[in-house]
Symmetry: C2
Subunit: 548 residues, 2 copies
C-alpha cells in the first residue's frame, strides 16, 4: 500500500511557497518600520511595498515578463531590496551581478545568464561602456544613481530608476505560479575556470528564510537576531543575496539600513546614527572596521555580528569581543543559499570563560533546522560525531543549488550519492558543532586517513624559530600521499633548527593527542620563501608540482 | 514565456519536507537533552530516537505499513511523542483519538478514520471494551500503561507498549516519500452533527513547525519560546498535536515534560521539580491551575504561557500577570494545524502600562510568517485594517486542512474563493493585530453591517442593574436582521430598570464610538433566566427560535 497523498491538484486550496508570501507579515504588522539607504533615502515598509509594485510596472514596460532575467549592478541599497522582491514576484529571475569580477567575467555572466534588462549604478557605467557591444541578450539598460545627475556615458540608457518609478503605476497583481520557479541566480568563482552560475527557486528562498529566522532568532545565548534589532548587512547583496538575511529581516519587521559601497567611515557613521544592532560580514570587513581610525571613538558594545565566508580566527574574535561585539560564526557557500550552520553557544556555555566561549563561537557551527550535515570518508561512509574523525563535509537541505547553470559537467562533481559535496574537510563534535579544518584539495590523504594541512601549519607556527610554514601532500607509493612541510625560519634561527628538532616538536602534539603519529611529516624542507598567489595566499598547487 | 522551473524530477537532489527531517537538529545538537514523563520515565533525545526506531519495528510487526492508520488513546506522554514521529515517518497516518468524545463518537472516529492498529492507555480500556465489537478495521490493539500490571479486561490485547519496544530492533530505515503524504488526522466537533476529520501532510506539519518556531522564538518581548526553556504542554496531544508545539520544542532542543492526565497537583509539582518555563493551554486550564489550593505556595514568576482555544479575558490575564506569569494569546483552530496568530506585544509596547499591555496580550494576535489573514464582507471583499471594520476572518497559509475526510459537503463550506473561512468574526488594527469579536453564526447581520453579539453583551454587563444578558439577531423584513437583547436583572433592580434606561445606556457607547447607532437593539426583553446548553453556555439557537 502506498502512502496516502492529499490532493495537490492546483486548486484554490494550493499555497505555493512564493517570495510574495514573505510580504504578508512585514506589511500587516510593521507597515511604519523604516528602510534607510545611507543618508539619502528613508522609506516605510508600506512605501517600499508600493515601490515594489511600481518597480514591477516599470520592468514590465521594459519588456520583462515571466521567465525573463533582470541583471542588477548596484551597491547595497533600498533599490536592491525592492528588486529582491519585485523581480522574482513577477516570475522573472534576478541576476545579482558579481561586480567584483573582471569586466570580461562580468560580460560572461551577463551573456551566460541571458539578462534581458540590466540595472546599473553610475559607478559601473564605465565597465558597461567597455563591454556593452558584446552583450548578446540585453535589450534595455536602466541607470541607478545616488546624485541628481547621470554622468556622461556612451551606454544607451532607457531611463533612470527613481524617475521611472515615479511615473509607474502602483497597481500590479503578482501572480501565483509553481514554487519551483527560478527566482535568483548569481556567479561564483573558483581559482580556475569560468564563473559558475548557481540558482535558487522561490521554494528554496522561502524555506531558507524560515529556517534562518528560526535559528538566528530562537537559539538565543549569543548574536540572536530579534524583532527589536536594527539591521545593516555588511555582506554584499550581490553575494548570495546578502546571505538571504534581508528576507529574514523583513519577517522580523526590523529597521533595515543599507550602506551602499563599503566605506568604514560611512558604515561607522550609520552604525551610530541609525543605532544598528545586528550585522553579518566576512572577517576582513570586521577587521577593517575594528582597525579603522574612526572606530576608536565608537562604542560597539552589544553590536551583534555573524561572521562567515572564511574562518574567524580566535585573535579577531577576541579583539571584537574586547570591544563589546557579540559575534558568532556561520557556515555556508554560494551553492547552499548559503546558511547551513550557526555557531551559537548552547545555554549552559554562557557561563564559560571568555577563552572557552571564543572556542565555541569560532567553531563553524551547528546545523540549522532541516539541514542534514555529515562528514564522510572518501567512500561516502558517515564518520562518528566525536570531535576528531575528519572527512569531507557533505550536506542535504531543501535550499541547495541543483547544479551550475548550463554546466552539467562541473555540476556532476557537486552532487554525489544524494549529497552536495562542499569540498570542505572537517569534523563534528558530540554537540553537533562542525569544525572546518581544510579544503579537500589541500588535505593530505594518507592510508585512508585525512590529515589537515591547516593543523600541521598551526603546529609549526607554534615553534619559536618558525616564521612561515606550509604543509602539502606528496605522492607515496604505499600510502597514496605523505605529509611534507616547507619551513621558513626566522633569521636568528637559521642554521640552528634541524629537521629532527621539527620532528620532535610534532611529537609533543602526538603525545597531547592533537594529531596521530601518522600525521608527523616524513619530509621537512627549510626554504627561503614560500610560493604565493597574486593576492598573497599560499600557492600550494605550485608547491605540490615542485615536490612531486 | 512561462516561469522557468528548476528540475523537480525525483532525484538524489530532491529534499521533500518530511517529519523525519525534524530530527536532524535535536539529535545532532542536543542528544543528551531530557524527555520526562511525570515521575515515571526519563529519557535523553538520543534514547528517544532509538525508541522511535523500535516503535516503527513494533508497529511493522503488527502489520503497519505505508498508508496504514494508527489510532492512539493516551494522555500526554513520552509514548505519544515517540508516535508523533514514528508513525508518520513510516508513511502511516497517526490518528490522535479524541478521548473527550462520547464512546459512540469515539467508535465513529475509529471506524471513519479506518484505524488498523489501536494503542490504548489502561484508563480507556473500559471504553474500548464497550465499543470493540463494532470496530470495522482495527486488527491489533496494544495497551499503554503507567503501572506494572494491566488491569483485567475483555479487550483482546496484542501486547504492552514498553514490553514490545524492549523486544523490537532499533534498526529501521525511514523511507523518503512524497511530502504531500498524509501524516496525521483527528476529529473536531461542532455543536451539531458527527465529528469531522481534519488531516495534515508532512509538508504542512514541517512548515507549521518552522513558522511557529520562527514566530514564537524570534518576535521576543513576551512569552518567547527559546532554547533555554523547559517545555510542558498543557493542551492535550490528541488535540491538534498539542498545537504542534512538541515538534517546535524538538527543534529548540529543550527539555520536554509530559504530565499525563491534567491534574493540577501533578502539574504544579512538575512545574516546580522540572523547572518548567514554557507552556500553552486554554483559559480554563490556566484558571484551574491559578485557583488550585496547591498553587498558593508555588512561585509562578517567569512562567511563559501561550493561551488559545477561546478568548483570554482581561481579568484572567491580569490575575496571571499579578502572579508573575508572562502570557499572550494565540489563535487558530483544528482546521488550521492550528497556529495562525500570536499576540506578542511589539518592542515599543513593553514600556506600556500593565493595562495597555494586557489589552495587547489579550488581542487575538498578529499573523505568523506565511499566514495571509483578512477580514472580509459577506461578499468576500477585504476590509481595511483600521481596528474597527468587522467581517469574517478568512485565511490562507500552507498548513490548512484541505477539507473534512470523506465529508465533501461540509468541506465545501470551509473553502470559498480560495480562502478558508474560519466562521469567526473580528477586525484587524493598523499593526496587524486581529481581534475576534464573535462567531459568525451568532453575529447579527443588519443592512450589510455586522454587529457583534459579544460587544452588545459586554455593554449590557456594564449596566449596574444587569445580572445576565444575551444578544441575538431577529428576522427583519427591511434589514435582514435586527439586534434584540434579553436581559436578566439583579433582584434589587427588578421593576426599576426600563427598556428606555437600557436604550440610553447603549446610546452612551454610540457617543463614545464603541458601536454605531445601527447596533442599538430595537427590542429589549426582560426575562427571568436565559436558555443554556448542557455545559452551561448560552443557547442562542433556542433563543433565536423563541423570538423568531
Amino acid at each position: 500500500m502506498p502512502v496516502k497523498l492529499i490532493d495537490q491538484t492546483p486548486s484554490a486550496y494550493a499555497y505555493p511557497l512564493l517570495i510574495k508570501h514573505l510580504l504578508h507579515k512585514p506589511l500587516r504588522c510593521t507597515p511604519n518600520q523604516e528602510i534607510v539607504y545611507r543618508d539619502l533615502y528613508r522609506f516605510t515598509y508600506a512605501e517600499m511595498f508600493q515601490r515594489v509594485h511600481k518597480a514591477a510596472n516599470m520592468l514590465k514596460s521594459l519588456g520583462v515578463a515571466e521567465g525573463s532575467t533582470v541583471g542588477v549592478m548596484d551597491w547595497d541599497s533600498h533599490r536592491y531590496l525592492e528588486l529582491f522582491y519585485a523581480v522574482p514576484m513577477m516570475g522573472a529571475i534576478l541576476h545579482t551581478v558579481n561586480i567584483r569580477l573582471s569586466p570580461e567575467q562580468i560580460l560572461f555572466t551577463i551573456n551566460h545568464a541571458e539578462d534581458d534588462v540590466l540595472l546599473v549604478h553610475t559607478d559601473f557605467l564605465p565597465i558597461v561602456e567597455a563591454i556593452k557591444d558584446q552583450f548578446q541578450t540585453v535589450k534595455k539598460i536602466v541607470v541607478l544613481r545616488d546624485g541628481p545627475e547621470t554622468p556622461a556615458t556612451k551606454v544607451p540608457l532607457d531611463g533612470e530608476y527613481e524617475d521611472l518609478l515615479a511615473r509607474a503605476s502602483d497597481d500590479y497583481t503578482f501572480p501565483d505560479f509553481d514554487e519551483n520557479a527560478k527566482a535568483t541566480t548569481f556567479y561564483t568563482t573558483g581559482t580556475t575556470g569560468l564563473p559558475k552560475g548557481v540558482y535558487f527557486s522561490h521554494r528554496q528562498l522561502v524555506l531558507h528564510t524560515l529556517a534562518v529566522l528560526a535559528a538566528a532568532g530562537s537559539y538565543h545565548t549569543a548574536a540572536t537576531f530579534r524583532s527589536n534589532d536594527v539591521y545593516m548587512p555588511l555582506t554584499p547583496m550581490f553575494h548570495v543575496h546578502a546571505w538571504g538575511i534581508p528576507y529574514v529581516a523583513g519577517q522580523l519587521g526590523v529597521k533595515q539600513v543599507y550602506p551602499g559601497r563599503y566605506d568604514p567611515a560611512v558604515i561607522l557613521k550609520l552604525l551610530v546614527s541609525e543605532k544598528v544592532t545586528f550585522s553579518h560580514c566576512v572577517p576582513t570587513i570586521l577587521h577593517m572596521i575594528l582597525s579603522s581610525p574612526a572606530a576608536k571613538s565608537v562604542d560597539l558594545t552589544g553590536w551583534k555580528v555573524i561572521i562567515g565566508g572564511s574562518a574567524l580566527t580566535k585573535g579577531l574574535c577576541k579583539a571584537a569581543m574586547d570591544r563589546g561585539v557579540d559575534l558568532i560564526t556561520g557556515y555556508g557557500m554560494s551553492e547552499t543559499c548559503p546558511v547551513l550552520t550557526l555557531a551559537q553557544p548552547q545555554p549552559h556555555m554562557m557561563s564559560w570563560s571568555l577563552d572557552e566561549q571564543i572556542a565555541v563561537r569560532c567553531r563553524t557551527g551547528q546545523p540549522i533546522p532541516l539541514v542534514d550535515l555529515q562528514v564522510v570518508t572518501p567512500d561516502g561512509v558517515p564518520l562518528p560525531h566525536d570531535g576528531k574523525s575528519t572527512g569531507e563535509v557533505v550536506v542535504r537541505s531543501p535550499w541547495l543549488t541543483q547544479g551550475y547553470y548550463k554546466d552539467p559537467e562541473r555540476a556532476e562533481e557537486l552532487w554525489d550519492g544524494g549529497w552536495l559535496h562542499t569540498g570542505d574537510v572537517g569534523f563534528i563534535d558530540e554537540r553537533g558543532y562542525l569544525q572546518i579544518t581544510d579544503r579537500i584539495k589541500d588535505v593530505i590523504k594518507t592510508g585512508g586517513e585525512w590529515i589537515s594541512t591547516l593543523i600541521l601549519e598551526d603546529i609549526l607556527m607554534q615553534h619559536p624559530g618558525v616564521s612561515e610554514a606550509a604543509a602539502i601532500g606528496v605522492p607515496d607509493e604505499k600510502w597514496g600521499e605523505r605529509p611534507m612541510v616547507l619551513v621558513v625560519l626566522k633569521d636568528e634561527f637559521k642554521g640552528k633548527v634541524s629537521q629532527e628538532d621539527i620532528r620532535q616538536h610534532f611529537m609533543q602534539f602526538v603525545e597531547e593527542g592533537t594529531i596521530t603519529k601518522w600525521a608527523v611529516p616524513d619530509k621537512i624542507a627549510f626554504v627561503e620563501a614560500l610560493p604565493k598567489t597574486s593576492v598573497g595566499k599560499l600557492d600550494k598547487k605550485v608547491m605540490r608540482q615542485q615536490y612531486r
